[in-house]
Subunit: 346 residues, 2 copies
């Protein structure tokens, strides 16, 4: 049996190809037919720089689907269940998972490599299915699907950034980056009660959505000028927390420039740099650097009710929908910044 | 009127000289006659590298003394009070001080510069005296003076390292460095209930005191070998927290090598490096970097009762006492590592 799935062969070279249908291999596996998937900002890193090669690899790590079959050791999931998968699979029982760090699960791993399917295809074999998948109490055609799909990655990633930074009531926040993660971080900070949220971004359509998500101020300037502007807005001090949602060196440097003494920089943009400033000035100001890859699984149950009950609409970050054949167009649109985040309806 | 005070003129050049007696300049000042002072590991940075010049500067930032006079706006302090001074003076009323970050006080500053005396002399003009000084309920000849003097800097610095790292019961800890700060960090971690404390240090007399302070394991190896040894001791995982008490690049690199996924590196050794590793590996493991210069003032009231009631003896880090004339010998002894920390009895 064959299905179609997205493969990446190198920078700019994404193809939808015919691959073998997944089958159950381990008793802890489930098979899931994909109902919605999407393209992540982090997919753009290989799309921008992967060396060309004969060997392609699967791609995609965010999906909602319907359970088709389960292994003998999977309980709590049945054929027909609608489920969401976090962007890393995990057993949800080891010591790291119990601590909420599913990304370091002792029996976990990523999608799209080592014989595990990617999310941007028709079906996925899900390892550690019982620990990984979370049931969704809605129908397969629910209007909530985009927001529920955001639970795979982008909303928990913004939430992780805000939580690790310690955002709460009376916290002032700077969010760096108006991509889907940055906007999700704005939404998460607002949801956690932040007093003031300054969004640094240059794309008006995106910062407009940021304001809708809860940003109180928008700073379009970058670099030293951007730092100066945030300092002006905060009486010279900077903000208690800075949510760095880009991953590039200038962004993390800006973060250290706008954080208040005693404050925290949290980063969830996969770092495209080897080190961060940590000199005597940073030391004297007692700046904390935290964040990292988000253990989305740890947050899904906590975030889902607000989506189901309509209090948050993180799915608004999706501004284009493609079918599987159009996935290469979707990558181009995100790379060209003509789309913020692309939903895939296989 | 003249007094004697320690001056530093360049690397290896510390002199005790005659300088003007301090006088009250601001209504918020107090004059304090120094009863005990000491030499800090951080004093060894200029002692090791300060360019020689004609202009010397005062040095020393830890002292206990007796109040001799107070300005008109100082209340709560009287002539004859025995007091301890934290290593940064602060008003103890601004927003940063109220948050416990006295090192960023809006009206604070350091000892030994800008017309403020250093601690290694006969007397000190104390700016913001009411906010800075803390009364000691003991006599001028109390045997507790060395431990109470440690409240100026070294004990709160170890405590700050442990607190910002989040040390508590069920926390495993690696302490990097067997200097006075490292040993104080061991004591602080033990006091906070740490389950296991691995001390990395090579000087047996010092690590022996570390064991007395609460270290459960000692690792003498350094670099990759030391990292390997700590990992062996922790089932391959590393420890939840790492207290970096050195300030050199190899020490902070070791810290990132021995920290468990999801864990925290806290640093209180003044960094002699411009940046820290923060690549994708650190990001994927969700490592937090925190710490900084310790707001000693914030911790003095909390730590003092344990000293007064004999539960901790942080003053054991002092292993040599000199008078003011012998201060240059004290610097040499600490630089040569023949002394751990030198007490000065003017």
């Amino acid at each position: 049996m064959l299905m179609r799935a997205t493969m990446i062969y190198g920078a700019g070279d994404v193809r939808v190809e015919t691959v073998p249908d997944p089958v159950l291999r381990e008793p802890t596996d489930a098979l899931v037919r994909v109902v919605r998937s999407c393209i992540c900002g982090s997919d753009l890193w290989p799309y921008g720089s992967m060396p060309a090669g004969e060997q392609g690899r699967r791609i995609g790590h965010e999906f909602i689907g319907v359970v088709e079959d389960t292994g003998a050791e999977v309980s709590g999931l049945s054929r027909g269940d609608l489920v969401v998968a976090p962007f890393v699979w995990a057993d949800n029982t080891c010591d790291f998972c119990r601590e909420g760090l599913h990304t370091s699960c002792r029996h976990g791993g990523g999608w799209g490599s080592n014989g595990v399917d990617g999310g941007q295809g028709e079906a996925v074999r899900v390892p550690q299915a019982q620990g990984t998948l979370v049931k969704l109490p809605v129908a397969e055609d629910s209007a909530l699907l985009p927001s529920l799909l955001s639970l795979s990655d982008v909303f928990p990633t913004g939430h992780h950034c805000a939580v690790t930074a310690g955002v709460g009531p009376r916290t002032t926040v700077t969010v760096i980056g108006d991509g889907a993660v940055g906007l999700s971080a704005v939404l998460a900070a607002k949801r956690l009660g932040a007093e003031r949220i300054i969004l640094m971004g240059r794309h008006k359509d995106r910062t407009d959505l940021g304001r809708e998500f809860g940003a109180t101020d928008v700073v379009a300037e970058r670099g030293a000028e951007g730092v100066e502007r945030v300092r002006e807005l905060t009486g010279g001090d900077g903000t208690h927390t800075v949510l760095e949602c880009v991953g590039l060196k200038p962004a993390i440097e800006t973060a250290f420039g706008v954080v208040r003494a005693g404050g925290t920089v949290s980063r969830v943009g996969a770092p495209q740099y080897p080190d961060v400033p940590a000199d005597f000035g940073v030391f004297f100001r007692n700046i904390t650097l935290t964040g990292g890859v988000a253990p989305a699984r740890a947050y899904i149950e906590e975030l889902m009710p607000d989506i189901l009950e309509g209090r948050v609409q993180p799915g608004k970050v999706f501004d284009r929908t493609v079918n599987l054949d159009q996935v290469p167009d979707g990558y181009r649109a995100m790379a060209d910044r003509t789309a913020l985040k692309v939903l895939i309806q296989p």
